[in-house]
């Protein structure tokens, strides 16, 4: 697939390569410090009901991020 989708659209267990992060500088920096940046392959572990947090894995790091943040991380699967 060549059209980037957000981490929300990805199913649990699927992975993708980060294409863009459509957030502000603060958010990009925060994600960057945990190793989530353009070109990195990340896996979606789980999502919660009612727009709850999304758990993703990047390398050996597992991190829970909010729904809004997840919707701004665009990946190529």
């Amino acid at each position: 697939m060549s059209v980037p989708v957000s981490m929300i659209e990805l199913k649990a267990g699927e992975n993708g390569t980060v294409a863009t992060i459509k957030g502000g500088a603060g958010m990009v920096r925060k994600l960057d410090s945990l190793g989530i940046h353009e070109g990195k392959t990340i896996t979606k572990i789980s999502a919660q009901w009612m727009h709850g947090p999304v758990v993703i894995r990047a390398g050996a790091t597992e991190v829970a991020i909010g729904y809004g943040m997840a919707s701004k991380i665009m990946v190529l699967s």
Binding site: A12, G26, R29, K30, D32, S33, L34, G35, H37, K40, I45, S46, A47, Q48, W49, M50, H51, G52, P53, V55, G59, A60, T61, E62, V63, A64, I65, G66, Y67, G68, M69
Partner: protein, 572 residues
């Protein structure tokens, strides 16, 4: 010489600090355990080295209060050597902060902690190559078992400014090059623990797991607390201590001002720990006989949950609810800690990013999260009427917690960012660490509680004897009697509640309250105003102005809630 222990959250800095200095700093398996820094010192080669345990941070561009503290310490200690603690199980991510620290051009030593766990996970790191590439000593350690610590200390003198050159834009590329050369990962299958880890962040079975763990925790706390009271403390106070106190009472003439202060009033010629209110009777029974067993039970259960690494997962599961209260899932940590004692609970609000969140979390904790001291006394008093009395008290507080959160979310200005938390792997708790942590917390409780309990009992006695209680009772009676439906004497408990909540609940014992009055009084005591220890930590964390706002919310909401309960609950 001075050294700063710096590194990502949850890599074992505090464990290393304890190992190095023999100090007692709480360690857990979740990011953000350390929100305040500790100092200690060691002697090596005849030289005294001061060590500072810095709160964990992912970056030198801070995103929360604890990280701000970390960066500030780094700036305030320009001559200190940086001991950068990395986790070997996640070298790649750990190196990001290393790159930023390298840019500071200061003498550094890199510690590869959790070396053993990485080996188990099939990760091998070429330490010498890493040392060569970075240009500063890299020492493997296992802070929990103590392996490698001695070698690391010996190398402190070799710390030097790394030769590695990195630019902010190229950090991850540089890290990628390092990882390619120093790390090899053996492919392996998912372990049972990893499957369990994933399962607990799915909505299903995550919610079921959360419900089971919380119910089991409650049951365990009650079982341990009650068990200790029935098997050890109650027999001790009744059969061993009471005869001693009775002898003392006889020797002191059985009555009089000093007698009543020390031994307390005799009830039907006998000491009654609930009603006598002497320093050596009620003053000792409250902290040791009633509260300590529950504090011990609570911290045992909490410490196990912390060390396994369950709490960040609970944060994920509870995020949806917390979000409605203007918080995010991570705010479950201050709340849980608050159930033990509000002071550490409110301190840990530092893991939250904005002023709005910290205000809501601290206010909700102080109002609707009853500390173990209060809970234990309420359990002793209202529990006599059966479980429904307790359910009414805690159920009311739970409703207050939700409703107040919903309101504050709209009223308090500012932002409520989304959850952002690293989820650590599940770990089997180290028994020795667990015992040590529970011991630290018990010691801390005793140090904080005993003086204030004795002072509380002393002041309660004085106020009674001087007639102040009666006076305040009369002054406050429009509120306490009319709105809350409590006897005028209960006002004394509210006054003493400022010193210690457990003593305050204890003051209700002689009043012969009905269950309804007991429920209302317990709710008011939890909500009305924090005890002095909590009050001062709130002033420190929120500032005087926000604390005043928070206090206003407490007073008003407690009166409203007590009024509603007084109207709704059936008499009797």
């Amino acid at each position: 010489m001075k050294i700063l222990l710096m590194g990502n959250p949850n890599v074992g800095k505090s464990a290393l600090f304890n190992r190095l200095t023999g100090a007692d700093v709480i360690i857990s398996n979740y990011p953000g355990t350390t929100v305040e820094f500790s100092r200690g010192s060691i002697k090596t080669g005849g030289e005294c080295v001061e060590i500072i345990d810095v709160p964990g941070t992912y970056t030198l561009e801070p995103t929360c209060r604890a990280e701000e503290i970390a960066v500030r310490i780094l700036e305030n200690e320009p001559d200190a050597i940086i001991v950068n603690v990395l986790t070997s199980i996640n070298l790649e991510r750990s190196l990001f902060l290393t790159m930023q620290l390298i840019e500071k051009k200061r003498p550094m030593l890199v510690v590869l902690n959790m070396w053993d766990e990485a080996a188990h996970a099939g990760i091998s790191i070429d330490r010498e190559m890493l040392e060569k590439m970075l240009g500063c000593p890299c020492m493997p350690t296992c802070a929990i078992s103590g392996q490698g610590i001695k070698n690391m200390v010996e190398k402190l003198g070799d710390a030097r400014i790394p030769e590695f050159f990195s630019t902010p834009a190229g950090r991850w590329d540089d890290i990628g090059r390092i990882i390619d050369r120093v790390q090899t990962v053996r492919h392996r299958h998912h372990t049972f623990r990893e499957r369990l880890a994933d399962a607990s962040v799915y909505p299903f079975p995550g919610l079921v797991v959360a419900a089971i763990i919380l119910l089991a925790s409650l049951a365990a706390i009650r079982w341990i607390g009650e068990g200790l009271i029935n098997a050890v403390l109650e027999p001790f106070f009744e059969n061993c201590w009471k005869p001693v106190a009775m002898h003392l009472s006889t020797a002191m003439g059985g009555q009089g001002f000093v007698h009543d202060l020390i031994v307390g009033k005799l009830i039907d010629g006998q000491i009654d720990y609930g009603q006598s209110f002497g320093l050596l009777t009620t003053g000792l029974f409250v902290p040791f006989g009633a509260v300590l067993p529950y504090v011990f039970a609570f911290y045992t259960v909490l410490s196990i949950l912390e060390d396994i690494g369950y709490l960040p997962r609970l944060a994920v599961i509870s995020d949806v609810v917390m979000h409605r209260l203007g918080l995010h899932g991570l705010a479950i940590m201050p709340m849980l800690l608050g159930f033990g004692c509000n002071v550490p609970g409110i301190l840990s609000t530092r893991i939250l990013e904005t002023r709005k969140e910290r205000f809501i979390a601290a206010t909700l904790t102080a109002i609707a999260v009853p500390c173990m001291s209060l809970q234990a006394m309420v359990a002793g008093l209202a529990g006599r009427h059966g479980v429904h009395g307790l359910l009414l008290v805690f159920g009311t507080l739970a409703v207050v917690w939700v409703v107040l959160g919903l309101v504050l979310r709209r009223l308090v200005k500012g932002e409520s960012p989304e959850i952002f938390v690293e989820i650590p792997p599940y770990r089997l708790p180290d028994l020795w660490c667990l015992i040590k942590k529970i011991a630290i917390r018990i010691k801390w409780f005793l140090k904080e509680a005993i003086p204030f309990v004795l002072l509380g009992v002393f002041i309660a006695d004085l106020l009674y004897m001087l007639g102040v209680i009666e006076l305040t009772g009369r002054i406050l009676s429009p509120v306490t009697t009319r709105i809350m439906g409590l006897p005028a004497d209960a006002a004394g408990a509210i006054v003493v509640g400022f010193l210690r909540k457990d003593v305050a609940v204890g003051m209700l014992a002689p009043l012969d309250l009905t269950l309804k009055q007991l429920v209302i009084a317990s709710v008011v005591l939890s909500m009305f105003f924090p005890c002095i220890a909590t009050f001062s930590v709130m002033v420190k964390e929120l500032g005087m102005k926000d604390m005043a706002k928070s206090a206003a919310i407490m007073v008003v909401s407690s009166i409203v809630v007590a009024g509603i309960l007084n109207l709704l609950l059936p008499t009797g």
